[in-house]
């Protein structure tokens, strides 16, 4: 329960219904994520949360979302934000546009995270081209610290615009130990992404 509550604080989410559950994913069967056309192969040990952080996203974790999490963003269309917009009037989020360059996607993700997590030090550490779900896409790494904790998190994201829609997978974990511990697994999940 504690982990779950902390997870909420971390993700900046509204309270999920009490019925929200974590479910262990099948190791070797592709699963559809974020109620979208994206499918990935989970591999061993990952759990999916029945409470989705946004209409077009889904959250997985290995050890609990405070320590590590994978967020899937699937099928975002023109004019939609990268995360759930909780305060449209006072904290509007940047919106997706299908003409975005790969650098624009990373940029909009950074802005979104700076607003949602209030992390003033969010920094993109590297960015390079990558093939994502058989399409040309972007891979970038980042780190940030939330002001209500003193824990630096690292992340790696990959995404592409496919058929005019944004598909992204981001892996975020505590920089100390947890990021490295599950990075290879997270990368395998990203490599397995297919968009039909």
């Amino acid at each position: 329960m504690n982990k779950l509550l902390l997870g909420l604080a971390f993700a900046g989410l509204a309270a999920p219904p009490l019925s929200a559950k974590w479910k262990l994913l099948p190791e070797t069967m592709p699963v559809a994520v974020a109620k979208s056309a994206m499918k990935v192969m989970p591999g061993q040990g990952w759990n999916s949360w029945s409470f989705r952080p946004g209409k077009k996203s889904e959250l997985w974790s290995y050890d609990g979302p405070v320590l590590n999490q994978i967020e899937f963003i699937g099928g975002v269309v023109d004019g939609e934000p990268f995360a759930k917009e909780r305060n449209k009037k006072d904290k509007p989020l940047p919106k997706f546009n299908s003409k975005m360059l790969p650098t624009d996607i990373a940029q909009a993700y950074e802005q979104t995270q700076r607003i949602v997590t209030r992390s003033p030090d969010f920094t993109i550490d590297s960015m390079e081209p990558v093939t994502f779900a058989a399409h040309p896409g972007v891979k970038f790494t980042f780190h940030f610290t939330r002001p209500d904790e003193e824990l630096t998190r690292k992340g790696e994201a990959r995404g592409a615009i496919i058929g005019g829609k944004l598909y992204m997978i981001t892996y975020t974990a505590a920089a100390l130990h947890y990021f490295d511990a599950h990075l290879a697994q997270a990368q395998a999940i990203m490599d397995s992404a297919k968009v039909d």
Binding site: A9, K89, D90, K91, P92, L93, P94, N97, K99, M100, L101, P102, T103, D104, A106, Q107, A108, E110, Q111, R114, I115, R118, P120, D121, F122, I124, D125, S126, M127, E128, P129, V138, F140, T145, R146, P147, D148, E149, E150, T152
Partner: protein, 386 residues
């Protein structure tokens, strides 16, 4: 969340002991801002104990701006408006947070947000804020708030509402909300300090006039109603309009005094690139435009034009990429143009469909910044733009 509830959660141990000891006991008198001061009575001792612990944690925070030169400048200004004792005892920490805010803990730790430093325009405005915060400390405003809040609802209600949480910067920064009377008292104390130091006391009102104008600019660009006269549920500060009015009326007959704009700029400008970048990434187009224009009152520099280009490019509405390209070009024409201006120009041109010019600009950026962390991505965009 009630800020006091959060504080009391953090101070649960001190709180519990206070409730059993009762409110009676020695009452602290005189200013606590003297060297070697020992807190008096169970409430003050409890607050100081908790805050000493929080301060130890904060001093190693990753979100502090550790700039000795800037901190000693802030201290120099504080010392002009403070007594010699207060000057020695108050600790100043600069917090990396793009919002306008400052705070004072009951044991004399003064927190200043980086976003405040971006908005303040002169040494006199800074002196007003430092003097105001010092007054909260010297008058023990937080202790008075704690006692008032406790007698109204009782410890148990607070503790029940508080829950548990880490005592991070976000909480500390929000702990000390004071009553309207206390804020007013601190404002007027701030003015006294400014006058004694020869600062332009009218600058205290300028802070609020500027903030109100910024809130209007933010709202206009978002097509929503300005928040300048809005108060949050727990916001006990006087409304900015009221504050502006009494600061203006109390200073109308004061001599002009020293504004110290150049001195302030000289001290803050090394930090500008970070402060501006943090602001521009907040998706607050109108407010950011307003702030950039304020910084550019004595002329648009290369870094300011670059930031304006970034602001338009990030927004990316119809016509924004063309305008952004224009600002980047103006930046590039200045001797102090940051390398990022070529990157921004290339990316803006790529969005307008001018592939050849985009490629030329990105290639120039990569020549100027061969170690760029996104060079592989940029090289691909440049190649695809031919």
């Amino acid at each position: 969340m009630n800020r006091w509830a959060a504080l009391l959660a953090a101070g649960a141990v001190a709180s519990a002991s206070a409730s059993t000891s009762g409110a009676a006991g020695p009452v602290p008198v005189g200013s606590p801002a003297v060297a070697g001061y020992q807190p008096v009575g169970v409430d003050e001792q409890g607050l100081w104990g908790e805050m000493a612990e929080a301060e130890r944690a904060l001093k190693v925070s990753k979100l502090l701006v550790r700039d000795e030169e800037l901190t000693s400048y802030l201290r120099k200004v504080l010392c002009r408006v403070a007594s010699a004792d207060a000057c020695q005892t108050v600790r100043i920490l600069i917090v990396r947070d793009p919002q306008f805010n400052a705070g004072m803990t009951p044991n004399g730790m003064l927190l200043i947000n980086s976003g405040l430093l971006l908005r303040v325009r002169s040494e006199a405005e800074l002196a007003a804020i430092l003097g105001h915060e010092l007054s909260h400390f010297e008058r023990r405003h937080s202790l008075a708030r704690l006692k008032a809040a406790r007698s109204a609802t009782g410890w148990a209600a607070f503790l029940g509402a508080a829950g548990a949480g880490p005592l991070g910067l976000a909480l500390i920064g929000n702990f000390f909300s004071f009553s309207q009377e206390q804020e007013r008292e601190a404002d007027l104390d701030g003015l006294k300090g400014m006058r004694a130091a020869g600062y332009r006391s009218r600058s205290a009102g300028d802070i609020w006039a500027n903030l109100r104008a910024e809130m209007d600019a933010t709202a206009a660009a978002r097509n929503v109603r300005s928040r300048k006269d809005k108060r949050g549920m727990f916001d006990t500060h006087p409304a900015t309009a009221e504050r502006l009015a009494y600061l203006r009326s109390s200073t109308v007959d004061d001599p002009e005094g020293e504004a110290g704009e150049a001195a302030f700029r000289a001290a803050i400008s090394p930090l500008w690139p970070m402060l501006i970048d943090d602001q521009v990434k907040l998706n607050d187009f109108g407010g950011s435009e307003y702030l950039l224009a304020g910084l550019a009152t004595s002329g648009w520099t290369g870094p300011l034009l670059y930031a304006r280009g970034e602001l338009y490019r990030y927004r990316g509405q119809a016509g924004d990429f063309e305008k952004a390209a224009g600002f980047y070009r103006e930046a590039i024409a200045k001797p102090d143009a940051p390398a990022g201006a070529w990157r921004g120009l290339g990316l803006a041109l790529a969005r307008t469909g001018d592939g050849a010019a985009a490629k030329a600009s990105i290639d120039e950026y990569l020549k100027r910044n061969p170690q760029a962390s996104d060079k592989a991505m940029l090289a691909m965009i440049s190649g695809g733009s031919q």
